[in-house]
């Protein structure tokens, strides 16, 4: 095995690292926690200005395909949010793969310039893990489509320029086959966005589609081919694009606190810190492997599931260990005097639960691995 990055990729990483360090300021973090919008527009633009986003878009950029992982791993390790830009870059990659000329011409430059965000409208109020049961309808009317339905958890919908919306176009086909992916501007009449607030400060949204009329050129990929488009998107996402190393900033914050408070001298503290450092490194290696498979032209679906499962479960374990270790001061929030690790321990304890839920729950990933990797019979449920 060879874990080395090529010199070009190392150079890319250094540039990303420098820009992230310059823009992940206390002020940017404060704004994120105040607004619940976990995005850093200045960082996105600065990365774009040096062409670093374009290089990372799957199938588009001049860069080594492994740079997709490097970009988001660097942002994440610095403790800067990854999801907003991550979803935009992922969808730019999907558009690059299956989009029409107009979609490519409009969306890709908007993303690679760091200006536009895109949101994902998959989940619905009554449909989560069993996504192919979704009920949002798109009905043909002449050369238009009329869309009606409701989506839940449409994160960044309040900032995004487009939504990729998975809707049922043929109720007579088997569930997975009658779905179509649409790429729709968020300012299209008939779309409504209501905020949904979460335990971890982050804002997400419920979105509603009321007789939304769009042309055929808003279909992304084939009509009734939406499931495949979503699989392409998932293969970029899971275990490649960030969300698998949140334990790194948590460990850094906690070690710094332990050092300042004198707790670092305690064996019980040092043992836990070392264990988390090991888990963080394993999560990084699993992510790097998924990214390597993707960069070599493969689809790391199962490896991505394994990575996501390990990374999210170990992050939750770490955040619980650290909060217990910090005791009462571990309950205090960001900017509160006396808060352990300036409140990051408390924040991670609030944030970590969602990581085993979104992007495919732990149980759904285990079902996948059991059936498709371990070859076990379809479970009795």
């Amino acid at each position: 095995m060879d874990f080395e990055l090529s010199p070009e990729v190392v150079a890319y990483r250094e540039r990303v690292r420098r820009i992230v360090a310059a823009h992940n300021t206390p002020e940017a973090i404060r704004v994120q926690h105040e607004t619940g919008t976990f995005n850093n527009p200045a960082l996105n633009r600065a990365l774009a200005a040096e062409g670093l986003i374009e290089r990372a878009v799957p199938g588009l950029g001049a860069g080594d395909p492994i740079e997709l992982w490097v970009l988001f791993n660097e942002i994440e390790k610095a403790g800067s949010p990854v999801d907003a830009l991550g979803v935009a870059v992922m969808i730019a990659g999907v558009v690059q793969h299956v989009g029409n000329d107009r979609q490519k011409a409009e969306l890709i430059p908007a993303v690679t310039s760091g200006e536009a965000l895109i949101c994902m409208g998959y989940s619905e109020p009554d449909v989560g893990s069993d996504l192919s049961a979704l009920t949002t309808r798109a009905v043909r009317d002449g050369d238009e489509w009329v869309i009606n339905g409701a989506k839940m958890w449409t994160t960044m919908a309040h900032e995004a320029r487009w939504v990729i919306l998975l809707a049922r176009t043929d109720p007579d086909l088997p569930r997975h086959k009658g779905l179509t992916m649409f790429l729709i501007p968020m300012d299209t009449p008939g779309i409504r966005v209501d905020p949904v607030h979460t335990m971890a400060t982050e804002r997400t949204n419920a979105t509603f589609y009321d007789d939304v009329r769009v042309g055929d050129d808003c279909v992304l990929g084939e009509v009734n081919g939406g499931w495949r488009v979503m699989s392409v998107a998932l293969s970029f996402e899971r275990g490649v694009m960030g969300g698998t190393n949140p334990g790194v900033p948590l460990l850094e914050h906690t070690a710094a606190w332990a050092r300042r408070s004198g707790r670092l001298a305690e064996p019980a503290v040092r043992e836990k810190l070392a264990r988390v450092a090991i888990d963080n490194h394993v999560a990084a290696l699993l992510t790097q492997r998924s990214a390597w498979i993707a960069a070599s032209g493969g689809l790391p679906g199962l490896e991505g599931s394994m990575t996501k499962l390990f990374a999210s479960e170990s992050y939750q374990k770490a955040s619980r260990w650290f909060q217990e270790m910090a005791g009462a001061e571990g309950l205090l929030q960001l900017e509160q005097p006396g808060a352990a690790a300036d409140g990051w321990i408390e924040y991670d304890a609030r944030h970590s639960p969602v990581t085993t839920i979104y992007g495919g729950t732990t149980e759904i990933n285990k079902n996948n691995i059991a059936e498709r990797h371990l070859g076990l019979p379809r479970a009795r449920r």
């Binding site: 990055l5 390597w292 479970a379």
Partner: protein, 332 residues
């Protein structure tokens, strides 16, 4: 970048999988208990000349994984670590004493100590090799491993260098043991998969119950992670990287730290995988007759012979956060 075995390594793995599956099946493993050594298997393995000076730690780790999958009753790891140092002393089985000799010159619980002709270890300020007659037996133990106490003074004694040279040997031992524990874990998972598809309860294979599936489904990621980490450590040892441990950036190239991390993680994974696999065998998992108990005991015995994992983790913490060591005035 290549995050899978190279084609050469795949061939190596295939060759040793063939060898061990044929020569070290469960019957051979059982026959070798409780000593845990099969001399004729050892001679056949030795004849394959895997110890040549050209063997990289990474290649040896590939073989160690296969030896672990078949829990081969031969001191592959110990000999692979110790033998390159004893050309001048002569042939036979070589091993290392994991802990320094006691004040009265005894190496306690040496792995392969019951059968090794030469033991390398620390005695006072020196790294020494001692050739003496192996006892041929040792205390009964959890893993049925050929452990024994050995003398650091009685026998033909050669000083190899300062005691500090032991660190590199220990690192190689940890990496190769980690690789063999990856093998133990992966075979434990395979045993579980075979069993849960064959065993029927409530009219269906127990492997169709989601609780059983979910108890197994987190293992492949952990096993793959343990293998990646072991091979990252092996590569760092082979290159002799400098000692960089940047925890803030999660960038670690230091061979000693990586070896230690790989060892602790693989030990954890092997303990976990054998535990789950045994559990999903139901009562039969507890029966002597079923193979999983052989794996369960080795997963623990092969790792804990180094001592408590906490000590290893505290040493790692000293490398990751060295300022505290300075503040305390000493390490662990």
């Amino acid at each position: 970048m290549e995050l899978a075995f190279s084609s050469d390594q795949r061939e190596l793995l295939d060759a040793f999988e063939q060898f061990f599956s044929k020569e070290s099946g469960p019957a051979v493993v059982r026959r070798a208990e409780p000593l845990g050594h099969d001399d004729s298997l050892w001679h056949r393995l030795d004849a394959m000349e895997v110890w040549g000076s050209g063997a990289s730690t990474a290649d040896l780790a590939v073989i160690a994984e296969s030896a672990g999958r078949w829990i081969a009753p031969v001191p592959f790891v110990e000999h692979a670590v110790a033998s390159p140092l004893i050309d001048e002393v002569g042939a036979g089985i070589a091993t290392i004493a994991l802990r320094p000799a006691t004040a009265d010159g005894a190496w306690r619980l040496v792995p392969a100590g019951a059968v090794a002709d030469v033991v390398i270890g620390v005695d006072g300020a020196d790294l020494v090799a001692v050739r003496s007659t192996p006892p041929g037996s040792g205390p009964l133990n959890h893993a049925s491993a050929p452990l024994a106490d050995r003398s650091a003074r009685d026998g033909v004694r050669t000083v190899l260098g300062p005691a500090a040279d032991m660190a590199a040997l220990l690192a190689r031992w940890k990496v190769l043991t980690a690789a063999s524990l990856v093998g133990v874990a992966s075979m434990a998972l395979e045993l579980a998969l075979a069993y849960v598809q064959e065993r029927q309860q409530f009219g269906v294979p127990i492997g169709s119950f989601q609780a059983v599936q979910h108890g197994l489904a987190d293992l492949p990621g952990m096993i793959d992670g343990a293998r990646l980490l072991a091979h990252k450590a092996a590569g760092a040892i082979d290159r002799g990287d400098d000692g960089r441990c940047n925890i803030a950036l999660n960038e670690i190239d230091d061979p000693l730290a990586l070896a230690s991390m790989a060892f602790v993680f693989a030990a954890d994974v092997a303990a976990h995988a054998t535990d789950r696999s045994l559990h999903f065998h139901g009562g039969y998992g507890f029966a002597e007759e079923y193979d999983i108990q052989l794996y369960y005991r080795r997963a623990r015995g092969w790792a804990l012979i180094l001592g408590e994992p906490t000590a290893e983790l505290l040493t790692l913490a000293d490398r990751f956060w060295p300022e505290t060591v300075a503040a305390q005035g000493s390490g662990h």
